[in-house]
Symmetry: C2
C-alpha cells in the first residue's frame, strides 16, 4: 500500500491511498471543520436573507414613490391612533368612558380604510350593526327573564335563549352570502353577530347591561367620528375620484394599445422601443380592472358630494363604460393574436390595406381619446359626432379596400405559391385550382385583422353611447365655442394625417 501526498493550492492536503490490488487510488478528502461549515452556511443564509430584505425594501420604496398618498394614509392612521390613545392618558375622559376606551382604539384600527367611501361604509356598518344587535339582544334577554320569572323555570328560558341565539347568529351569517348584503353590509352583519353574541352571553354575568351597551356605543361613535374627520379632512382619497381616474386612464391605455397594435401589425419589422411595447399591452389593464371598478363603485354610494361630483353623480354609469371598454379590449386581444400568428400575409397585400387600416385605427383611437377628454373635462364634446363620422367613413374605405384586394393577381404573392405547393390531403387539386385564381389564403390574416378592426369600431361606438349617457345623466356642460370646435377638428384631422 502506497500513500501519496499532494499539495493543494487552497493550502489543504490530499491523501490518496493505493491499495495493492490494482484498483485506482482512493482519495481521502479531509473533512472541513464543523465550525467553518456552520459559519459558511450561516454566512450564506444571512447574505440571502439580507438581499431578500433589501429587495423587499426596494419594492416598498417604489410603491411609496409611485403613490405617495399611501404614505399619507399611513400617517393618517398614526394620527388617528395617537388622538384616540389620548383617551387613555386623559383622566377625565378615561373615567367618562371607563375601561371600554379600548373599544375606541379598536374601532380606529379596524375601521380606518384607504378611501373615504370604504371608511364611511365600515363606520356606518359598525354603528348600525352594534346598535341593532345590542337592542335585539337586550330585548331577547328581557323577554326571557320576564317569562323566566313568571312562567317557566330558569333552565327552560336558558334553552330558549340558546335557540334564539343560534338562530340569529346563523341567519346573520347566512345573510352575508346574499350578494346585495355582501356588497354593502358584510361588515355590519359581522359586527351584528359579534355584538349579539357578546351581549347575549355576557348578560348572565354583567348586571349593568345598559351601562355597558351605552359605553360601547359611545366609544364606537367617538372612534368612528375621529376616523371620519381624519379621513375626510387630511388629504382625502375619494373612491369616486379613484374610479373616475381609473376609467380615464384605462381609456387612454385602450386608445394607445389600439394605435400600437395597428402600427405593430403593419410595421412589425421596425424596432420597437420598450415604451411602445408597454403601450401596446395597455389593454390588459382594461381587461383586469373589473374587480377594482366594482369595489370602487360600491364604495361611492357611501360618499357625500366631493370635488366636481355631486351627491347623485351616476357612478354606476362608469361600470357600464368600463364594460364597454372591456368588450373592445377583447377584440384587441384577438388583434394581438393576429400579430403573433404564424400565417402572415405577404407584405404586398399588407401594403394594400396599410393606409386605410392605420386610418381606421387612428380614427377609432382618436374617438376614444376624445371620450377620455370628455370625461376628464366633464364637458360635452362638440367634435365627437364628427370624429365618429370620420371613423365610419374610414371603415367604409377599408371595406372598399377589402373588395379591391381581389384584384391582385397571384403572381404578386410568391409566399402563397410556396404554401400551396405543400398540400397534404384530399383537397389538393381543388386548392391548387384556387391558388391559380386568387391568393385568398395569403390574405386571410390581413382580412381577419381588418374585420376585427371593423368590429372594434362598432364596439367603440358602444363606448361612445355609454359616455354620452353619462354626460346626460351627470349633466355635463356644452361650453366649447364654434371657433374652438373647428380648430379642434382641424387639429384632429392633422393628427390623423400625420399618423397615417
Amino acid at each position: 500500500m502506497m500513500a501519496n501526498q499532494k499539495k493543494f493550492s487552497s493550502g489543504g492536503v490530499e491523501w490518496s491511498i493505493r491499495v495493492g490490488d490494482g484498483s485506482p487510488p482512493k482519495i481521502l478528502v479531509p473533512q472541513e471543520t464543523l465550525a467553518s461549515r456552520v459559519w459558511l452556511g450561516l454566512k450564506d443564509k444571512i447574505a440571502r436573507f439580507v438581499s431578500r430584505v433589501w429587495r423587499f425594501l426596494v419594492k416598498a420604496w417604489n410603491l411609496a414613490v409611485d403613490d405617495p398618498r399611501k404614505v399619507i394614509h399611513c400617517l393618517k392612521v398614526g394620527i388617528a391612533l395617537t388622538v384616540v390613545s389620548l383617551f387613555y392618558y386623559m383622566r377625565p375622559l378615561y373615567e367618562g368612558v371607563g375601561g371600554n376606551a379600548m373599544w375606541a382604539v379598536m374601532t380606529v384600527v379596524v375601521v380606518f380604510e384607504n378611501t373615504v367611501g370604504a371608511t364611511l361604509c365600515k363606520c356606518l356598518n359598525r354603528i348600525v350593526g352594534t346598535s341593532l344587535a345590542g337592542l335585539l339582544a337586550i330585548g331577547v334577554h328581557w323577554v326571557a327573564r320576564q317569562s323566566g320569572e313568571n312562567l317557566e323555570p330558569l333552565i327552560t328560558s336558558k334553552i330558549d335563549l340558546t335557540v334564539v341565539f343560534l338562530l340569529t347568529a346563523s341567519a346573520a351569517t347566512f345573510s352575508r352570502f346574499i350578494p346585495t348584503i355582501k356588497a354593502r353590509f358584510d361588515y355590519g352583519a359581522m359586527i351584528f353577530i359579534l355584538t349579539f353574541s357578546l351581549v347575549t352571553v355576557s348578560g348572565y354575568r354583567i348586571d349593568k347591561l345598559f351601562d355597558m351597551a351605552h359605553q360601547r356605543l359611545s366609544t364606537i361613535i367617538i372612534g368612528t367620528s375621529l376616523c371620519i374627520l381624519v379621513t375626510t379632512l387630511i388629504c382625502p382619497i375619494w373612491a369616486g375620484q379613484e374610479l373616475y381616474v381609473l376609467i380615464n386612464k384605462n381609456m387612454d391605455k385602450l386608445a394607445n394599445s389600439l394605435d400600437g397594435c395597428v402600427s405593430q401589425y403593419f410595421d412589425h419589422g421596425d424596432e420597437k422601443t420598450e415604451k411602445e411595447d408597454k403601450a401596446l399591452l395597455g389593454y390588459k389593464c382594461v381587461l383586469n380592472s373589473k374587480g377594482t371598478e366594482d369595489i370602487m363603485a360600491n364604495f361611492t354610494r357611501w360618499e357625500p358630494a366631493h370635488g366636481r361630483f355631486n351627491f347623485r353623480h351616476p357612478w354606476k354609469q362608469y361600470l357600464k363604460i368600463g364594460a364597454s371598454m372591456r368588450s373592445c379590449a377583447y377584440c384587441i386581444e384577438a388583434l394581438i393574436g393576429c400579430i403573433k400568428s404564424e400565417n402572415q400575409a405577404p407584405e404586398l397585400i399588407k401594403k394594400q390595406l396599410r393606409n386605410t387600416c392605420l386610418l381606421v385605427g387612428s380614427n377609432s383611437s382618436g374617438v376614444i381619446k376624445e371620450l377620455a377628454k370628455t370625461i376628464k373635462t366633464m364637458k360635452k364634446s362638440n367634435t365627437i359626432d364628427l370624429l365618429v363620422g370620420e371613423m365610419n367613413s374610414a371603415v367604409q374605405e377599408l371595406q372598399n379596400d377589402l373588395k379591391s384586394l381581389s384584384c391582385l393577381s397571384n403572381s404578386d404573392s410568391p409566399s402563397f405559391q410556396e404554401e400551396s405547393e405543400t398540400p397534404e390531403n384530399k383537397k389538393t387539386e381543388k386548392s391548387q385550382k384556387a391558388a391559380a385564381t386568387i391568393p385568398l389564403m395569403g390574405v386571410i390574416s390581413v382580412v381577419t385583422f381588418a374585420s376585427l378592426l371593423i368590429e372594434i369600431v362598432s364596439r367603440t361606438e358602444a363606448i361612445v353611447e355609454a359616455v354620452e349617457e353619462l354626460s346626460n345623466l351627470a349633466e355635463f356642460e356644452l361650453t366649447v365655442s364654434k371657433q374652438n370646435q373647428s380648430n379642434q377638428k382641424d387639429e384632429q384631422t392633422m393628427q390623423n394625417s400625420q399618423m397615417v
Copy 2:
C-alpha cells in the same frame, strides 16, 4: 249662482258651482279625510315592503337550495359560537381565562370563514400577529421604562414611546399595501397594529401586563383551535377543492360555449332553446372568474393535504390553466361578435365551410372536454395526443377549404352584388371590378370566423400544455389500458361525426 249635486258610484258627492258670468262650472272635489289618505299611503308602503321582503326571502331560499353547504356553514358558525359561549357559563373555565373570555367569542366570530384555507389563514395570522405585537410592545415598554428610570425624566420616555408607537403603526399600515403581504398577511398586519396599540396604550394603566398578554393569547388560541376543529371536521369546504371544481366547470362551459358558438353561426335560423343560449354564454363565467381563482389559490397555501390532493399539490398551475382558458374565451367573445355582426356571409358560402368549421369546433371542444376529464379523474389521458392530432388535421382541412372558397363565382352570391352596388367613394371603379372577379366582401365574415376558430385551436393547445404541466407536476397516473384507449377513440370519433 246654482249648485248641482251628483251622486257618485263610489258613494261620494260632487258639488259643482256655476258662477253667473257664463264661465264653465267649477267642480269642488271633497278632500279625502286625512286618516284615509294616511291609511292608503301606509297600506301601499306596507304592501311594497312585504313584497320586497318576500322577493328577498325567495332569493335567499334559492341561494340556499343552490348550495346547501352555505346553510351548513351557518350552522357550523352557530355550533362554534355555542361551544365558545360555554366558557361564560362554566365557572371553572371562566375563572381560568377571566373576563377575557370575551376574546374567545370575538375570535370565533371574526376568524370563522367559509373555506378551511381562509379560516386557517385568519387563525394563524391572528395568533402570530397578536404574539409578535405583544412581544414587541412589551419590549418597547420595558426598554422605555428602564431608560426612563435611569437616564431621562419620564416625560421624554413617553414622547419616545409615542414616536415608536406612531412609526410602528404606520409601518405596519404601509405593509398592508405591499401585494405579497396583502395577499397573505393582511389580517395579521391589522391584528398586529391592533394588539400593539392596545398593549402600548394600556401599559400605563395595567400593571399586570404579562398576565393580560397571557390571557389574551390563551383565549385566542382556544377560539382559533375551536374554529379549526369545527371547520375541518364538520363538512369541510376546502379552498383547493373549490378551485379544482371551478376550473373543471369552467372547462366544460368553455367547451360547450365553443360548440354552441359554431353551430349558432352556421345554423342561426334554427330555433334555439333557452338551455342552448345559456350554454353559449358559458364563456363569460371563464372571463369573470379570475378574481375567484386568485382568492382560492391564495387560500390553498394554508391548507394541509386533503382528499385527493397532497400537501405539495401544484395549485398555482390551476391559475395558469385558468389564464389559458381566458385567453381562449377572449377569442370566443370575438366569435360572438361575428355572429352578431350585420355583415353576414351569403348562406352558400357559409355552407362551403360549414362542415369543416363544425369539425374544427367539435374537435377543439372535444380536446377541452378531454382535458376536463383528465383533471376530473386525475389520470393522464392516453387519447389527448390523438385528439390534438385530429384537431390539427381538421384545421388543415379548414385552411384548404378557405383556399377553395375562391373557386366560387360571384353569380352564386347575390347579397354581395347588392352591397357592391352602393359604393360611395373614389374607389368605386376598383371595387366593382373586384366584385366581378370574386365575392371577397361576402366571405369576409366567414373568413374572419374561420380564422378566429384557427386561433382558438392554437389557444386550445396552450390549455393542453398547461394541463400537461399540471399532470406532470401533480404526478397524475397513467391507467387507461390500450383497449380502453381505442374504445375511447372510437367513441370520440363517433361523437364528432354525429355532431358534424
